[in-house]
């Protein structure tokens, strides 16, 4: 039995049961039972007392209908049966069943069964107290039976439908509106009307805020989604964005005042005090000893290449001979081309004796002597040939313009060549042998044989006049460097043009001449002198000769002639070679291509030599640091130290050269080389006869080093361009000796034989970066190019300073030697004087002897007296003792 209550509908169902206990329309309760309350009086009356007559086991009690009615009559409204009065009256049977509801399932403790059937049902078959599935049992009793269409049983739902449906509550009203007929179709004029003007044309219902009215939304249809908890947070971050900005700053500095103030402050004072002492210690430490010096590494440099054979020999790189021209000829001079690597020029001359020369002079015209230009790329054919008027003994490239070459000839003439026309050809010689034939080729009648590569022959473009030049063969020609030039008085002045313009030559005719390739200044005298020579030999008009030096041709004169008179005697020195102190071109190597390239650019711009004029000495500034003194090696083996400055002779007013200051006869043959060291400006090497000597400028006592006589004559000498202590000596027997002064000074450190004839010239050259060559020529006309090995070309550690120290030592030794000599000489003199004195003494001795004896006696007596006194004082001698006699 369900005790749940159904919500009472608010309809007009007249169900009287205000009595909550006695509602017969309770859900779940069958209609045939009626819960009842029986008081104890009633219970006694009907003998259904709880727990006495009616128990759980037997909850039934049959009640007679009449008794119930009787009770109802007697007690009327108070009777417990009152509520079911009608039902009881209607009860068909005689007996009613009263059930005891112990558990109050129906709401009361008793209930009355109202129908016979249920009475029976309860009594006869024992039915469980809980009969809740009355409907359920009825449902599943008929299995699988199609439900039949049942007539509609209204359960009260029509009421709701009725409520919902919409019906007219009253009949609809009908209105009819019509217009007067005459107004139909009448023209209508419409006008605009502003709605806001007249308020009566429209009505509006504005919205207003109704306070009383509020709609509260009671029911909302929303969708809900479960999401994780989100939190919205914001932070302020630094937003950097690119922006064009520039800032300008300058260092913070103090003004002068502030600086002064600070400097004067006490603080500063203290600071300086405390700090200075530290510094003195530190600075001195540095000076005393170099802590960071890496001995190990320094050691390595001396060793050189490890492993493998250490090459010390000069390797033969290439050799050049020309079979056509250099038969029976010797090479007199070698010069490397200053700018083009691999190009070397060689002057060739006859090696005949003077007699042979006279006899063979006829051949000269047919076979003019030549200067050969050899290139490494072509060992067979020379690149260029320079024609010379006579055998050239010495020549040099102009350092500022390598296309100009000056040479000195056998006949005393100075020759100039200009090979600018062939410069391209020469330049191209480094690559494959140039096959281009030059336009300037000429075929001299003597050269009949055709060759594949027609080597051009360049004629000289200027020679000095025979009467103005030297009277003997020119043995040495040098260009003056471009940083200074010599004025007429012999004073070195600055060279504004910065090109080489002056040449110095020397010859055994006892003078050294200075030449200028520019025309002299226009003076009144020169007008007559500068008349061109009328006797023009045919070769002057040749078109292939460049006109660079036409102004000098045959009229060239030296502007200074330095004579070399000997001291004491009236004779003169005959110079063969000379060496200037400030001649930077003396030892040119390939490394100095920079300056020469600059010069090349300048000269390619076109220096017209013809237009250059020698400037007046007054306009140019004299240079103080150029020394005008130079060394000369003579034919007799003397080394002369002289000055080229011209002095004004007081008597005649002419400019005369000064007398040489020093002269040393050291060598026993003619001197063939006078060379300055490329590392020390005041060290000179002279080679002549069987010895060589090294001199230091300023030390006038003699050579600081003088070698011993070697078995063979020394024919040429040259310093090494990369090692301060190394030089090469060529010998008569074709040997080249390498002398290393730091290794051995009594003999050559290395000797190598190159040919069978004597060595005539040695010239080293450096091709940067690492190739060192030595050009050696011999008497048979062959030019050997040797490669200098690493050990001979790279200086050892500190070699220069070692050499300097060595030379100083030698100088000291020399000075000491001289002093000793002087001392010895003095001693000797003194000794002699003494001897002289002694010899003179025997005249006097007789007289003196007696005197001496007397004197001795007197001395002796005084001695005795003294002895006595002393002994007396000492107490050793008693007065009585007789004096010793």
């Amino acid at each position: 039995m369900m005790a749940s209550k159904r919500p009472k509908s608010t309809g007009d169902k007249k169900n009287d049961s205000a009595d909550s206990a006695g509602s017969s329309t309770e859900l779940g309760l069958p209609d045939d039972i009626f819960p009842l309350v029986l008081t104890s009086g009633t219970q006694e009356l009907f003998e259904c007392r709880v727990d006495k007559d009616v128990t759980r086991e037997s909850p039934y009690k049959i009640l007679r209908k009449e008794e119930i009615l009787k009770d109802m009559k007697t007690r009327a409204a108070v009777s417990d049966f009152h509520p079911i009065k009608q039902t009881v009256l209607n009860y068909p049977g005689e007996e009613l069943l009263l059930m005891f509801d112990r558990d109050f399932t129906c709401g009361q403790n008793f209930y009355l069964v109202l129908t016979e059937e249920s009475k029976k049902r309860i009594l006869e078959p024992p039915v469980s107290a809980r009969e809740d599935t009355a409907e359920g049992t009825s449902l599943d009793s008929p299995p699988c039976k199609t439900p039949e269409c049942q007539p509609w049983v209204s359960l009260g739902s029509e009421r709701e439908i009725e409520e919902e449906s919409v019906r007219d509550s009253r009949p609809r009203l009908k209105y009819r509106i019509s217009r007067v007929r005459r107004k139909f179709g009448a023209p209508v004029t419409f006008t605009d009307c502003n709605a806001q003007e007249s308020k009566d044309k429209y009505t509006e219902c504005t919205s207003y805020d109704d306070r009383k009215f509020s709609i509260e939304r009671m029911e909302i249809t929303t969708g809900v989604q479960a999401v994780p908890t989100l939190r919205s947070i914001s932070t302020q971050t630094r937003w950097t964005y690119p922006r064009n900005m520039c800032s300008q700053y300058e260092f913070r500095e103090f003004t002068e005042e502030e600086k002064e103030n600070i400097a004067n402050s006490e603080n500063f004072r203290n600071f300086v005090n405390s700090v200075v002492s530290r510094f003195e210690v530190a600075a001195q430490q540095n000076m005393i000893f170099d802590v960071f010096f890496n001995d190990w590494q320094a050691l390595h440099e001396e060793d050189g290449i490890f492993g493998g054979k250490v090459e010390t020999h000069l390797k033969e790189y290439q050799s050049f001979t020309d079979l056509h021209f250099t038969k029976e000829k010797t090479i007199s001079d070698i010069n490397w081309h200053p700018t083009i690597n691999g190009l070397i020029a060689v002057s060739v001359m006859e090696k005949l004796s003077s007699e042979g020369k006279i006899n063979g002079s006829a051949k000269l015209l047919q076979n003019p002597p030549l200067i050969f230009f050899w290139s490494f790329s072509d060992p067979i054919n020379p690149q260029l040939l320079l024609e010379c008027p006579d055998d050239v003994l010495s020549f040099q490239f102009c350092p500022s313009n390598p296309n100009i070459i000056v040479g000195g000839c056998m006949n005393g003439q100075v020759v100039l060549w200009d090979v600018s026309a062939h410069a391209d050809r020469l330049q191209g010689t480094r690559s494959a042998a140039g096959k281009a034939t030059s336009a300037n080729e000429c075929a001299l009648p003597a050269f009949q044989d055709k060759r594949e590569l027609n080597t051009p022959v360049v004629r000289y473009c200027a020679v000095s006049g025979v009467e103005n030049g030297h009277k003997a063969r020119i043995t040495d020609v040098q260009w003056l460097p471009e940083n200074f030039e010599i004025s007429k008085a012999g004073i070195p002045v600055e060279n504004k043009a910065h090109i080489c313009v002056q040449v110095i030559t020397c010859a055994p005719d006892c003078c050294v001449m200075f030449w200028d390739i520019r025309l002299p200044r226009v003076t009144t005298h020169s007008l007559t002198e500068r008349k061109p020579k009328v006797t023009e030999t045919p070769h002057l008009n040749r078109s292939d000769v460049p006109n660079t030096f036409k102004h000098l041709d045959l009229s060239w004169k030296p502007f200074i002639k330095v004579a070399l008179p000997k001291k004491g005697t009236g004779a003169e020195y005959s110079p063969l070679k000379f060496s200037l102190r400030d001649n930077i071109n003396d030892n040119q190597t390939g490394g100095s291509t920079e300056t020469s390239e600059q010069n090349l650019e300048k000269s390619e711009g076109g220096t017209e030599y013809a237009l250059l004029r020698a400037s007046s000495a007054k306009q140019l500034k004299p240079l103080e640091d150029i020394s005008t003194r130079f060394y000369i090696g003579t034919q007799d083996g003397e080394v002369v130290y002289t000055d080229w400055k011209m002095e004004k002779d007081n008597d005649s007013g002419r400019l005369l050269s000064t007398k040489p200051s020093h002269c040393f006869l050291v060598h026993d043959g003619f001197i063939n080389s006078v060379r300055r060291s490329p590392f020390f400006k005041d060290i000179i090497l002279t080679v002549g006869g069987w010895t060589f000597a090294i001199w230091k400028e300023g030390v006038m006592n003699g050579p600081i080093i003088h070698s011993s006589c070697s078995p063979k004559k020394c024919t040429v000498g040259y310093w090494s361009p990369s090692r301060p202590g190394l030089f090469f000596i060529g010998k008569e027997d074709g040997n080249v000796e390498v002398w290393d002064l730091l290794e051995k000074t009594h003999e050559a450190s290395q000797t190598q034989n190159l040919s069978t004839t004597q060595i005539t010239c040695i010239k080293p050259w450096i091709v940067p970066p690492k190739q060192h060559f030595l050009a050696v020529s011999d008497h048979s006309g062959t030019l050997h190019i040797l490669e200098v090995p690493w050990s001979l070309r790279s200086p050892s550690y500190n070699e220069k300073s070692n050499m300097a120290k060595y030379f100083e030592k030698e100088v000291d030794r020399l000075i000491f030697l001289n002093k000793r000599k002087e001392m010895r000489a003095k001693e000797k003199k003194d000794k002699e004087a003494e001897e002289q004195k002694k010899k003179m003494e025997p005249k006097m001795p007789e007289k003196l002897e007696e005197q001496i004896e007397e004197e001795n006696l007197v001395h002796y007596k005084t001695y005795l007296a003294m002895e006595k006194v002393i002994l007396k004082n000492m107490g050793l001698l008693s007065d009585e003792e007789p004096a010793l006699n």
Partner: protein, 96 residues
């Protein structure tokens, strides 16, 4: 002023010394024997280095302090003596 000059001269006449600079602790030069551009450059750079060096030394041991700093390079040596408020910088060309 003269007197400090004298002392500085003493250092300067030592062999190999190329230049002397005195700077404040902030790196502003007070006295110098070099040209202005180099002075200012040295001052700025070296001041930072000295600060760093000093911090390094003090971090190791707070009782310790930097007395002298020497920087040896291929071409020369820079010696720095720091103090409370100033430093002295000397550039020297060592034994050659």
């Amino acid at each position: 002023m003269n007197w400090s000059f004298e002392t500085l001269k003493r250092i300067q006449t030592q062999k190999g010394v190329q230049g002397i600079i005195i700077v404040t602790a902030e790196g502003i030069p007070i006295r110098s024997t070099l040209d202005n551009a180099s002075t200012v450059q040295y001052a700025g750079l070296i001041q930072q280095l000295v600060m760093k060096a000093r911090v390094t030394v003090r971090e190791m041991d707070p009782q310790n302090d930097l007395t002298f700093l020497r920087i040896r390079s291929k071409k020369n040596e820079i010696m720095i003596a720091p103090d409370k408020d100033y430093f002295l910088i000397v550039i020297q060309n060592p034994t050659d």
